[in-house]
Amino acid sequence: MGTPIPMEKIIEKKPYFKYLRLDKMPTIWCPGCGIGQAFRAACMALDELGISNDQVAMVSGIGCSSRTPGYFDGFTLHTTHGRALTFATGLKLSKPELTTLVFTGDGDALAIGGNHFIHAARRNIDLTVVLINNWIYGMTGGQVSPTTPEGAYATTTPYGNYEPQFDIARVAIAAGATYVARGTAYHAMELKKLIMDGIKHKGFALIEVLSPCTIVYGRKNRMSIEEMYFWFKENTIPVKAWEKLPEEKRAGKIPRGVLYHDDSRPEYCEVYWNKVKQLSGGE
């Protein structure tokens, strides 16, 4: 399927289109899904930073969000469930010059891949992780995930979820990530900025993207596409404003923006290759 408008014309108006594998579209994502927003934000961020297709690797695991690399015209790896960060670690350490993005989800990164997540953060390896948090296992049909809100319905919590939620950002900060941000699929331009800063940051960067699973989570919890996007608008506030709120007013509100940023810690690849330089005698 070709596009009726010549590609050059599109790229003129939307330069980030150069990162898309248009011949692989349409995507597998459902109507209203927020993954496309995060993907677009990442492409726009790369474009603004002037990073060419040949300079980017994108790695993912399994799940809806992990299908992103297939649509990205770079060096892309769609790997095994939960393990994206391990493949990305091997790739980045071998080719540090490649800007390496990891697309993952709440189930992929925090349940089956939880161990890899904390250790990649601990190493402070220069990966930019875009973690789509949609509170559910979408691809497998709507099972409960480590970030499903308490009380929410999933196919495996027919009586409501009774497990507490993971706070992804706090896990990442505690584990040693040096750039931690949270955006939403509703705040599209802000998300682009957060991803851009994450790519620029030399070290492990996590960008959590609150994103609506409209078809599966929405249906199970009786929320429409619009209601879900508005939920992000109503219930998230910029972190600066959130910090000023008294404790009792913070309840139920989610801070977004850059939650943690530390440039003082050395980056893993740099440390390793400096060590190699020492040991192998120069260059």
């Binding site: 770079g74 060096f75 892309t76 790896l77 960060l85 790739l91 890899h116 060590k275």
Partner: protein, 383 residues
């Protein structure tokens, strides 16, 4: 003049990997393979290579595949329980055709089993451990000299066929010190093969379009213009997922075929006193060492025994085993498991002669006199 050096099995494996061009090692501590990781940690940074100890076995296998995509010759080593954990990403490596070498220094299993004692219980797992149909080359040396040869051979075939290769050792071999003639490992004295690169311009490049040898020429990630996609899903020549039944069938057939068609070239056995043998012992690794002595002991007693030591375990030397079976009166397969390779020997011998077993899974090696007793029993017409 031979140049002799005393070498430790696991260290020999690490040194040979470097000689073969290995520049990436990711591992996780596990007995009895840890010395391979320790040696690599020492050697690789000095060779401008990468060593990383990962958070678990799964991660180590993932990192190895990631580095392989970056174009580096990559390796990991483990043992039983770790080998089980590696299966997931070993299957991925097979599916996406990422060259790499996975060493399994076998100990006693199942489960945690006997960490410090030898076993040969992963003969079948090496081939069938990860889900789905596949054919992975599996090599099993029998002494420290051969550990070096087979490590280099494992890298060579991995690169040439773009496939993971499993190198089996066992606790005895890994922890054995033996004299090695290092002359053959001097630069230029042994063959090193590298993976092929695309020979088409970027605009014609399809990462998963196979060549005449059924092997695709996938460019290392980062090669300008040669961008591509890889997935563990069934995929087409672009590397993108497909459910087209013809394409899916052809993919799996090709992945198996590319290894199987090289079987004659890959086959490696040692024959010891087989010319006039009436009873053939077929085995590998540490057990073959005892079997060799047993052959001599049997011959002292007037029994014409011989040994076929299999080095390329998979793909199996089907035709050779059949020919052996046709030329002898009986075959004995001693192995440190409850009967694994014997199933393959039975299959390949096609009923040409009876096939007997000698099995053990208690962490102790099989001694020559035990094999001798069995051979005598067979010679007497018993079993």
């Amino acid at each position: 003049m031979a140049k002799l050096e005393l070498k430790y099995g696991n260290h020999a494996c690490a040194e040979a990997a470097i000689l073969a061009g290995c520049r990436f090692y990711a591992g996780y501590p596990i007995t009895p393979s840890s010395e391979i990781a320790e040696k690599m940690a020492e050697l690789l940074p000095k060779k401008r290579g990468v060593f990383i100890q990962m958070e678990d076995e799964i991660a180590a296998m993932g990192a190895v595949v990631g580095a392989s995509f970056a174009g580096l010759k990559s390796m990991t080593a483990t043992s039983g329980p770790g080998f089980s954990l590696k299966q997931e990403n070993l299957g991925y490596a097979f599916m996406v055709e990422a060259p790499c070498v996975v060493v399994n220094v076998q100990r006693g299993g199942p489960s945690t089993g006997l960490p410090t004692q030898p076993g040969q219980q992963e003969i079948m797992q090496s081939l069938w451990g990860t889900h789905g149909d596949k054919l992975i080359p599996v090599f099993y040396p029998g002494n420290v000299q051969e550990i070096m040869e087979e490590t280099i051979r494992a890298f060579n075939w991995a690169e040439r066929l773009r496939t993971p290769v499993v190198l089996l050792l066992d606790e005895v071999l890994g922890h054995m010190r033996e004299t090695v003639d290092v002359e053959q490992f001097e630069e230029g004295k042994f063959e090193v093969w590298n993976r092929k690169m695309p020979d088409v311009p970027p605009e014609e490049y399809l990462p998963y379009r196979p060549g005449e040898d059924d092997v695709p020429a996938i460019a290392p990630y980062g090669t300008p213009g040669y961008r591509g996609h890889a997935t563990g899903l069934h995929h087409d020549y672009t590397g993108f997922p497909t459910t087209n039944p013809e394409m899916c069938q052809e993919l799996i057939e090709r992945l198996i075929r590319k290894v199987q068609r090289k079987q004659p070239e890959m086959e490696k056995n040692e024959f010891y006193k087989m010319d006039d043998a009436e009873i053939a012992i077929i085995t590998f690794g540490t057990t073959a060492r005892a079997a060799k002595t047993a052959v001599d002991l049997a011959r002292e007693k007037g029994i014409k025994a011989g040994l076929m030591r299999v080095v390329t375990v998979w793909p199996s030397p089907e035709k050779t085993i059949e020919d052996v079976a046709k030329g002898v009166e009986a075959i004995l397969v001693p192995e440190l498991n409850m009967g694994q390779y014997v199933l393959e020997v039975e299959r390949c011998s096609r009923g040409a002669c009876p096939v007997y077993r000698l099995n053990r899974a208690n962490g102790k090696i099989i001694y020559p006199n035990e094999i001798l007793e069995k051979v005598e029993e067979i010679a007497r017409g018993g079993k």
